[in-house]
């Protein structure tokens, strides 16, 4: 009698493979349920943030026809793209569990996978739309070739990590308590001017600079823009700070995800 297949302890690598497959499947399913198979279908994934950016760019162009100290188009785009990253990622994760509750009956579909799938999807779509938009601006000669690609990449990466960490905290909280969603909507609007998307730290008075640098997203935007505009930008950033914030947010977040999992299983 061989019952070893059932009892055999799954190795970490195997667990990782299973999780990867589950998350991948969830991402595909999410794309299909959200955008369907018809019309432009999943292209909306990239078109949605892109349309938003184009609209904002057009409005800005209309009111501030002249360009300020920095070229307007890449400045605006880098601002709005970063807003989309944290706002969409956190916003989507809020309703990640409820519509997918049935899927949790599968033993290997865990609560964290639902969150991860949405986070990956949002980060992927906002990143793609940013790249396409930036490429288009370059083609139209409205944006420079990035002065330092690695800085741009690190800034974007730090922002993605930060958004993912925050999403893993806000997601389970929103699942546990409905009012979190409403509070988040208000908060995300109030936070917009402080997020660093629309100002340049070095142009702020010194006192405001030190206050602004308490906001972790500011560091990411500054590093991203440093990468776009080069040394003349004088970016203020501290990736160590962003990373510490990520860790400090992830610990309670991951515990909460665990708690949500146990609640779901208890039903």
């Amino acid at each position: 009698m061989s019952i070893s297949t059932d009892i055999r302890v799954t190795s970490f690598a195997e667990s990782l493979t299973i999780q990867r497959r589950v998350v991948y499947a969830l991402v595909l399913r999410e794309i299909l349920t959200r955008y369907g198979r018809h019309g432009l279908g999943f292209l909306w994934l990239f078109l949605e943030p892109m349309l938003f950016s184009v609209g904002v760019l057009a409005v800005w162009k209309l009111f501030h026809a002249t360009h300020l100290v920095l070229p307007l188009a890449p400045f605006t785009l880098s601002g709005y793209a970063t807003v989309l990253v944290w706002r969409n990622t956190i916003g989507r994760v809020i309703a990640a569990v409820e519509p997918n509750r049935a899927l949790l009956h599968h033993r290997n579909v865990r609560v964290i996978d639902l969150f991860l799938a949405r986070i990956i999807l949002e980060l992927g779509s906002t990143t793609t739309s940013f790249l396409v938009m930036y490429g288009a601006l370059m083609a139209l000669d409205l944006a420079p070739w990035p002065a330092d690609l690695s800085a741009m990449l690190m800034g974007w990466g730090a922002l993605s990590l930060l958004s993912a960490s925050l999403a893993l905290l806000v997601g389970p909280l929103a699942t546990l308590n409905d009012s979190v969603e409403r509070v988040w909507h208000v908060f995300s609007y109030l936070f917009l001017p402080a997020s660093g998307a629309f100002f340049v730290v070095s142009a702020l008075p010194m006192r405001l600079q030190s206050i602004a640098l308490w906001v972790p997203t500011v560091h990411c935007v500054e590093l991203l823009r440093q990468g776009i505009f080069g040394r003349a930008y004088h970016g203020h950033y501290d990736l160590g700070f962003v990373f510490t914030v990520c860790l400090a947010v992830l610990v309670p977040g991951l515990y909460l995800v665990r708690y949500v999992q146990s609640q779901v299983e208890g039903e």
Partner: protein
Amino acid sequence: MGGVDRLRRWLADPLFVLLVLLPGLLAVVYEGVIASDVYIAEATFVVHNEDPHAPGRFAGLLAGVGLPPADETSSAVVAFVQSREALKVLDQDLGYGRAMASASVDPLSRFGVLPWRRGFEYLLLYYRDRIAFAEGGAANVLTLTVRAYEPGQTLSIASRLVDLAEAKVNALDRSVRDDIVHFAETDLADAHRLSLEADKVLAQARAGRGVYDPDRQVAVPLVVLGKLEEELASARTLLGSLEQIAPKNPQVEVLRRQIEGIETQLARERRSVAGQDGSLSNLAETLDALNVEHVAAAHVVGAAIQSLTVARADARRRRIYLERIADPIRPDVALEPYRLRGVLAVLGLGLLLWAVIRLLVSAVREHQH
């Protein structure tokens, strides 16, 4: 007893040892034994920029978004102290680079431990990490904080920097004032030149025609003309009555000749007063135009003199200067590093990282065949 058990389990976890225990121990050793004392010297000063035409503080407040505008002169001073120029002076006069690279400074704080980070640009980065500016209060008070590893050295760096900043501000002040007066002086010189030119042209026009006062000079021929016309009229009257009374009188012929002569002379005189070029009235017109120019140029000179006076007064009132509020003093105690805080930060960060990795690993492990 559960706590002890848990601790024992943690100690058996290689990840815990690697991320928390080991860095913690290293931090204790470094902060406790190795790390050099950091001495801090502070200097406080205000950069005054008294511009008589600058908007008042309240107007500035309205212009900004509810905040006083960052004073440009203060920013310029901050930028200067952080510049290569200031560091170059420090390095030449105080041996900044050599002092920071000395063996008495601990290897993590020392400059140039890594051989590929030794140039002047790296020294600049190192230096910028060790000076800080803070802006506080409504009056643009700047506080310069200098960190170094010996008390005397710290003081000399700080006071040297304040001296350099003051010299820079004074140079700025001089150049701004010179600029203001210089522009007004150039304007005045230009006006003078124009006025002299107008004078010269006028004088030349007069000399070229041998005319000095056209109005009075025109008056003389006019009197002659009047007299001639008078004579002509009386001659014609006489001729008219003679022709009626005694047409055969020989006087008639004489009178006719006389009238002809007067008419020729009259025509000649008329031409010379008001006729083609070279006539007196034509000349008067040209001279009038030149006169107008002359008067206008004199007005411009007057205005330029006035604005120079205003500019001089402005320059006297406008002053940019650095006012020292507190000079740096020799620190007697090393306030930094915050050794305990450093150890706790390493431990805290390690714990966070360890917790996150553990949670992520256990989340992955939830997936089973």
